[in-house]
């Protein structure tokens, strides 16, 4: 029997601790849109997305009202465009990006992901054109997100693609410099990319999925933080148990919303992504959870251990709460989107190097980090290579979403607005990596035994 305390606890999580469903993401396969003529291809893409996604936003809003839980974003992810467009006669995919943007605006969603290429082993014609089109595409559209997978545990790292992506970040930053390189917030480079991630900027609908599905990303760092406030000074066993129980409760809400959305939209359920995704709002920070464990400031010695415990406990707690878990599940550490993280950067306790260490144990990687505008493309490529190597060796997803802000240097601040927050520019090692990146080729896939 439900007690009044259960009811009040749930509503306190929602109303005071920022519990929300971060996104309902509809995955749509565009494989059946392929056409040799570019115009036909774009028409096919527009028609399918607007047909499938027609009721996504109103359904999300209706569920939100009925259950009293905020559903922040409604999104669409599509088949990596390099695969869909490869058979066409198009020499640039900017028109496809415009088509995605237009379709997204027609159905009223917040973002559309999948302007993507998977080039872990090499680039096909479509991959090459897509990568060449990213900078212009993200500069001329509002809602399109792009991702490129450059490495994996099974494939190794495609260093030619890594070199290319450093240049793409720079080009994109320059094209969107009036908005402090905001375009770069819509681009992510992956190692061990997942095909069912509902979160942006890295969402795409992998080819192993069916024609369409509904996935949900839950959130709630504030709820975990408040739960830990009640176990001050207790041993880590208690901390881990508390996080597990809280993650279970959060995930159950996500599961309910996902099943309901799937039923109402008559579309198969994909996965629940158990991520703790922070926002710039007060009390919605992953860094604050780490600090609640006893660290004076995020980035202090012990931060990696605290994050490892958090990430693992979130998964353990969430797994039983959902019938199907996937995506990036874990704790995100996007600097600009997390008030505690950016305060830690501001006071000098959190460096790029420490963030890199944290990505060994968190759910993804170097995320929403503003770096000096004069950072060379080869240095950005080297950051990507380091991060891809961490993912490759540790058999986990890693990613890089850095923003080289033209005209700004360490000590300056950039304002992205909304969920993307603001960020102080972080220091990047000044020593050059250009000869390292200029080599190109492949870093071979690692062996999976003798793992020391």
């Amino acid at each position: 029997m439900l007690t009044i305390h259960d009811v009040l606890e749930t509503n306190q999580m929602i109303q005071k601790n920022n519990l929300d469903v971060r996104t309902i993401t509809m995955g749509i396969s565009l494989l059946d849109c392929c056409a040799s003529d570019g115009k036909t291809l774009c028409n096919n893409i527009y028609d399918k997305i607007t047909r499938y996604g027609e009721h996504l936003v109103e359904t999300g809003e209706a569920i939100s009202r009925e259950y009293g839980v905020p559903i922040i974003n409604k999104r669409v992810s599509v088949t990596p465009i390099s695969l869909v467009a490869g058979a066409s006669d198009m020499k640039s995919y900017v028109d496809i990006a415009r088509t995605l943007d237009k379709a997204a605006k027609t159905i009223g969603i917040n973002f559309i992901g999948g302007f993507s290429a998977l080039v872990e082993r090499g680039m096909s014609k479509g991959d090459r054109i897509l990568i060449d089109s990213i900078a212009e595409s993200l500069a001329v559209t509002d809602l399109v997100c792009s991702s490129v997978a450059v490495g994996s545990t099974k494939a190794g790292i495609n260093m030619d693609a890594v070199a290319e992506m450093g240049r793409v970040f720079k080009d994109l930053a320059e094209r969107t410099k009036e908005q402090d390189a905001l375009g770069c917030a819509k681009l992510v480079v992956f190692s061990n990319a997942v095909e069912d991630n509902p979160f942006m900027a890295g969402a795409f609908h992998g080819v192993t999925n069916g024609d369409s599905c509904i996935s949900v990303g839950v959130s709630g760092p504030g709820v975990v933080k408040v739960a830990l406030e009640n176990v001050k000074g207790e041993p880590f066993d208690v901390v881990a148990e508390t996080i597990k129980k809280t993650a279970f409760k959060i995930t159950r809400v996500g599961q309910l919303v996902a099943m309901e959305a799937s039923r109402r939209l008559d579309m198969p359920f994909g996965i629940i992504d158990l991520s703790l995704a922070p926002t710039p709002a007060v009390g919605d920070s992953v860094a604050s959870i780490l600090e609640e464990m006893g660290l004076e400031s995020c980035g202090a010695c012990g931060t990696t251990a605290a994050l490892a415990l958090l990430n693992d406990a979130v998964k353990k707690g969430g797994l039983m709460a959902s019938s199907r878990v996937g995506g990036l599940s874990g704790a995100f550490i996007p600097v600009s989107e997390d008030k505690g993280m950016l305060e830690a950067v501001g006071r000098g306790s959190l460096s790029l190097e420490k963030l890199e260490a944290m990505t060994c144990v968190c759910s993804v990687g170097l995320d929403m980090i503003a770096i000096p505008g004069d950072t060379p493309a080869s240095t950005i490529s080297a950051i990507i290579a380091d991060e891809a190597a961490i993912g490759m060796i540790n058999n986990k997803t890693t990613a890089v979403r850095v923003i080289p802000v033209p005209g700004k240097g360490v000590g300056d601040n950039v304002e992205f607005g909304g969920l993307l927050g603001h960020c102080p520019i972080i220091n990047v090692n000044k020593y050059k990596s250009d000869e390292f990146i200029a080599r190109g080729g492949r870093i071979p896939a690692p062996m999976r035994s003798l793992t020391n």
């Binding site: 009811v7 606890e9 509503n11 009925e66």
Partner: protein
């Protein structure tokens, strides 16, 4: 559909009467009522059955919101499933 109605705010006379009146007017069947004062704040949770009702949940939410504003308390109505999902296994 089972719906949980919660009232949170400063205690005063007539809150339950006002909420119950809306239920009676629209044939919403009250199943249980619980209340508790926490940190000086009045909290009430009422579980109701909407099946016999002559209005839908959206309309009930609007009516309760208006009543809450008149009484100076916050009134929410949510599908019970969200609470069951979070607090019950099986």
């Amino acid at each position: 559909m089972k719906v949980v109605i919660t009232v949170v705010g400063v205690d005063r006379t007539g809150i339950i009467a006002a909420v119950s009146q809306i239920m009676a007017e629209h044939k919403v069947n009250i199943l249980t009522i619980n209340q508790v004062i926490l940190d000086g704040i009045f909290n009430m949770a009422m579980i109701v059955d909407m099946d016999p009702a002559d209005i839908d949940l959206d309309t009930l939410q609007d009516l309760l919101k208006q009543k809450g504003e008149a009484l100076g308390v916050e009134i929410r109505a949510q599908n019970q499933a969200i609470f069951d999902a979070m607090h019950r296994v099986g």
